[in-house]
Symmetry: D3
Subunit: 322 residues, 6 copies
């Protein structure tokens, strides 16, 4: 099948040209400071399930704007001492689903938290977290929600939620604050990269086929949504190209990667027409940390490594954290 993007050796030479705004770090520091200033309470309610090997808690924590954000916390029932923490973010359209849907991290001895995605959670798994903020004219979906102003952009709120999830858990007695990892596939990988890029408490990041990277290229190469939402928006708002790309650079995985020092395990798929491989490599190459690895799947589309990559992650993180 034809590759939807450049391949080796051309992809080896590719460097993302996404501009780094001068106030990028300041923008995010202020955003986090503002969210933390609003504060809010964290609640952890034991969930009723048939599961016997793990304890499950239905967590609500204050995200951006103090808005309540949900998540599932799953802990080995038999545990001792502080555990390493894995926070997982979810792919586009989905929500936190049910706790029994992903047990392999807890079953491997980690404290595992799956954060819900505000305003999504209806596309392929269910969520329970509103996004109580409106928008100017937009294309259905989240990619253009508030995109005409970086302060209104949807992903400002979502990335902030991602950091606030760590804020909510890191002080608990079952968490070892020195062993915090974030992960996720696609949009989840993009969030993970953003969180790791603005929160130095994160020691390991595992973005799988990450979305939200290298927007100027990805928007022009991806063959399928969600990047296409931006194309359709610009096809109508023909005079807004500069404004839109001006916003997006504050949310670009390449820029988060440029300032991230965590250990990193990326994955990329060469037949991925949702998250073009050059955009993933663009972020990987820009990644500042020295301990970085990328696993490539030549014949996969956006499903990437799937359970093969889960195994890579479990081995890679167990070696570092256990």
């Amino acid at each position: 099948m034809p590759f939807p993007d450049i391949v080796h050796p051309a992809i080896d030479a590719y460097e993302s040209a996404v501009p780094m705004p001068a106030d990028f770090a300041a923008f995010w520091q202020e955003t986090l400071a503002e969210a933390r200033a609003i504060g809010g309470a964290v609640t952890m309610v034991p969930a009723e399930t048939t599961l016997k090997l793990v304890d499950v808690f239905d967590v609500t924590f204050p995200g951006f704007g103090g808005h309540p954000v949900k998540g599932w916390l799953v802990l080995p029932r038999v545990r001792e001492g502080r555990l390493p923490l894995v926070v997982q973010y979810v792919g586009y359209g989905g929500g936190r689903g049910f706790p029994h849907e992903m047990l392999h991290w807890a079953a491997s001895g980690f404290a595992y938290f799956r954060m819900d995605t505000r305003g999504q959670g209806s596309g392929w798994s269910t969520g329970a977290t509103p996004d109580p903020v409106g928008s100017t004219s937009q294309i259905p979906g989240l990619m253009t929600k508030g995109v005409l102003d970086k302060n209104d952009y949807y992903y400002r709120r979502l990335f902030t939620d991602g950091v606030r999830a760590i804020d909510a858990l890191i002080g608990e007695d079952f968490v070892d604050p020195e062993r915090v990892a974030v992960c996720g596939g696609s949009q989840g990988g993009g969030i993970a990269l953003a969180v790791a890029g603005i929160d130095a408490r994160v020691k390991a990041v595992m973005p799988d086929v990450p979305f939200l990277c290298d927007f100027p290229r990805a928007v022009r190469v991806a063959g399928r949504d969600p990047y296409g939402e931006i194309v359709r928006f610009l096809a109508q708002h023909r005079d807004k190209t500069d404004v839109v790309f001006g916003t997006l650079r504050y949310f670009d995985g390449v820029n988060f990667a440029r300032q991230c020092q965590a250990a990193a395990l990326f994955s990329v798929a060469l037949m991925d027409d949702i998250c073009p491989p050059s955009s993933v490599y663009g972020a990987f190459k820009a990644f500042a940390g020295a301990d970085k690895t990328i696993i490539e799947y030549e014949f996969n589309n956006h499903e990437g490594g799937g359970p093969f990559q889960d195994r890579q992650q479990m081995a890679w993180l167990s070696k570092r954290f256990l």
Copy 2:
């Protein structure tokens, strides 16, 4: 080509079974009262165009919640006395576009107002009106935005905007308050039906292939979006079927039709797989007013009568209002 719905004679026997909530009228009276209580200013700024035969104004008026809503007002440059007013609402995804895109009402001697659609305006024509209200988990698009509570549902705000547009214009000296008509195609037809159903100042309503009618049937028959958004939402939120249909009956064109006394010119297309013809007939048959007509296009899909129906409308309304 196969018809996507029942046809004659079966369609003649079809009656919508959508329930009428006991507090339907009260719900809308309270909603309008609340919006009017908030109030807000109307502005009309002359727009710069090359058009010489008409005057164009860029109007901003307070809609639901006092939120600013945009619209284009187009008047014959040479005019005398009070003119009949035609308010048009726009189809799903679109916005008010540019004033030169639809001139036939003003060119026929009407005051013409095209209302922008909050939060849409990016799909096939551009808009400039935000929807500054957020949502629980939803499917991309508007159909499930806030659908779990009738007070939060997106269309509560949009239908209210539709009435408030008339509030904004009816007192102007170029408008004859006794000759107010509303029209629109698809979603625009659904809004027109809703506005005519809750605002007795409307003397004529012209819904073309109207959307938002007879939800329980339309959701189960329509072959394409946007009704499909509701199906996809329920496919994930498998336990919310009753809640969703409980909300939708407050926004169903059949129920607006049941209490509308304006003169009406409907259109319907028998190959329409977006707005199933039985759902349109469901609203038409339920329509309470005695002066009602429906034009049927047997071999058309959702484009319906197109310019043929424009001509029908211009003749029908000119006969009544000019």
Copy 3:
């Protein structure tokens, strides 16, 4: 969205008319007897994983013809006494995958075995079990592999493997032979139904949106593969219709259901165009056992209840077996 099959109330009146061959029971008794006579060794090799809460074994057991068949056995690491056993069969095209992919049964306190599917295991998850038997002319896929003779038909071998998996495990000291359940979705549900229909040791069966039921109707209603493989075969082999349906009745879930006395939890989706809901109801109504329940998902296609149904199963089986 349009329903691909009849719905309520028509579906309530539907009864499958698939004929029951006089020698149906005999055919299967002989088939099992023949397979058991060949015999073969069972091996259970501990698998290396990062999982700490469970023990995983890579099992090989003799299936039809004594052919080696693989599976993953997952047990709670901390366990006492004999556990109830859940055997899961896999959907069309898939294989046993990796042990970490489905942990919720073991995490709920069950001995869990996922049987590999001979000759498949390349479509959406990986397998490791050959089908060392050839075929006459066939359509790509398994549906017509050997279909011209009931003794050569692929599913004769696969269903036999399903019973032989229980043979392999039921004598182990961690299994309670009085609490054996089988489950699976789609093809996996069809295998579960077949195994429960010919092996009285099975006390509970949970077929989700089962495939391989009510062939004469399903082949004529299903909008997508794999039933379509049979249509395409008959479209070429225009003179083989009677032979093909003559074979299929020995493998029809309706006939297995007619002689099954286990407790049963079915699921069905009304928008399923792969396994038509009438074909599922056809099997459910024919099901002989008195303790039977079916969960219906109105707005789902073949994904059915997904994690909602997992929860139903865990609750239903825990109540009966724990």
Copy 4:
């Protein structure tokens, strides 16, 4: 796969309601008389091929309006006496192609003539015959070419060509005028039926999955082109429905069948979504001749019986003519 039309037993009760114009026979008598009055020369030029068992002639004969129409005549090289003649007409879009493409009639001992189709011959096989007549506004394709007037309609010319082909050959010394058969698939079957309906010299007709039958139903049931050309025409020309169907009844296979006394071998495919099976049965049931048979292919789409039907035809016609 779902059937695109009614099936047994409903199809057994179906009768076409296409009206028979009072002047139907007169219209065709006059049309033929007019064409014959114009006259024109027939030429038969030996064609250069590598074929050794047959003689091939490149024939040009005067069709409707005296327009030159091409065809391939293929005769067994070794022959004696007068041969039965098979005239084949070609499916929609195609042309006469090359003589080596269909040799089984000549190889079975028939004089075989494949008539080119005026103005087509570019879609799946090549033709060499112009249609030197223009048209009012039309949909791309032939179905609406001149459809607003029965005298201008494309098929008036093409059906006339079909009779004139027989005129051109029947007097040759290698043809037995008492043994003339016509055949064809799809459009070719429609032409064959028309020719047999207006030319009593035809003693046998073999329409395979015939097109151009029972227009009022076919246009509303067929899922794919070419019937869809008429739907698209009427979707634009919303005021021309009566005119169009008024023309089509002069060209409807049902009406030709009603006055045909030849022996007939039809075929029909129940999954045919180009030529709906009810429209074929509509023509078959209306067929006046007593010696009529129809072969049904349950699981085929428009490919119908393919080579299976060829064999049926060769056996059926050999039995009657050899």
Copy 5:
């Protein structure tokens, strides 16, 4: 989304290599001379509409071969002196439609004429003009109608109609013969370019995303019809490639551009897979006139600038002509 053609900077370097026939100018001079020699009467019948601000005339004029061609003439009702004239040609498949469908030119103070397209007018708007000329074997559609001989090619007739429309109007007392502009989108843009290239009375030309330019490249790059008609023709008529391209160069927008001196406002869309942007740039670069501008829409497919480009045109032409 991937671009279907080369983009910047590669597109900046692209030059069309379409050959200019030595007798190109002569061919068109003779064609026009021949058409004018045949002559014919022009009629202008006032049309009945509800429009009050404009006068509408149903025009019939003699086109190629003296064939009657229709068009709508729309004039401001209140007018004085001679008006600049805008002649618009219509996109592929459409016709002149209804006069109320496009009013912005007359509303801006221009005499506006929309010419019908012979033999089309059934695809997306209606027409009323026959093409009374037949064709050799062709693909459905117009692209290959008569393509084997430049004198028979459909576009010879249509381009001639375009010039004859100006002949019909330029002498009227409401037209200023020094201010004649032509415009159109897609096929309409191709006709506009052709007319401006062979008729020096045209002072301004506005081709939007023009079709019929740079055939040798466009046929090999365009992803969708109508250029694909030529591909499908050549896929069957495998021996006609040279003949076809030999004809097309007499109808290539690049060659008309090479000899055009009018002021020009082009538009191009970089995601256009119907009219590849390189083919549009090919014509634009070859355009001989010095006063030329092109507006580029990066994220649009064949819809191009839509109403944004309308506004560009109205401003650009008003500045030059008003």
Copy 6:
């Protein structure tokens, strides 16, 4: 339409880089020796047909493993002396069909044999030959059947059948052993190339748009199946890439071409997205024989030259063999 692969001049410079295994010739010698050692009987049963100009025999011969393989032998009824033999292999999914389906070789004076394809014969024509050998996990279809071991690979058996067909016929008294040709389209062309590459008795080979050539490139370029089966297999079996390509090089048309000395007539289509033209040129350029020709069809997809190429073949081979 866009070309799916490189075109001129880039394609002229392309050379396949598929590696030649050191034991390639030995592997095939041993394979043939093994098959011949098993032996088996050839039967030729006169077939009942209506055909009078030819004699048809239903042939069964021993193929790989001595498995019975079917074929149709068609001879001119009137014949003298030894005839040149044309053996045709069939495209992917098909079977030998019926003898009347392809008569042009026998009608041109050749002994013609169409070999059935083991285990296929259900996709577009029927077959009657089983493949009595099973497989490890595979994708539906034949491309990955046994691909993990070159000795188990399906095409080892099929190519051997191709040679054994010649073994079966070459000694018959109606065959001239010095005039043996092989041909086929797509998969049939791949088999023909393989047979000609390992069997020096073949004096002429005519591969049309051959499949199974230059796997490493074809798998990465082809836009449609069957090469895509390999992509999907590797998308699941992410760790098997080297093993799979290690097997495929023993079955690659490029390697057969490198050792073939027969006269060759290839064809290639530049819009072929099933068998990429570069992969066909890869084999053609590697072809060792000096008497080689390739016919190129620029605007065709996988249908290639169709009947045009048949004529080329008949002329080319008649010139050499008659």
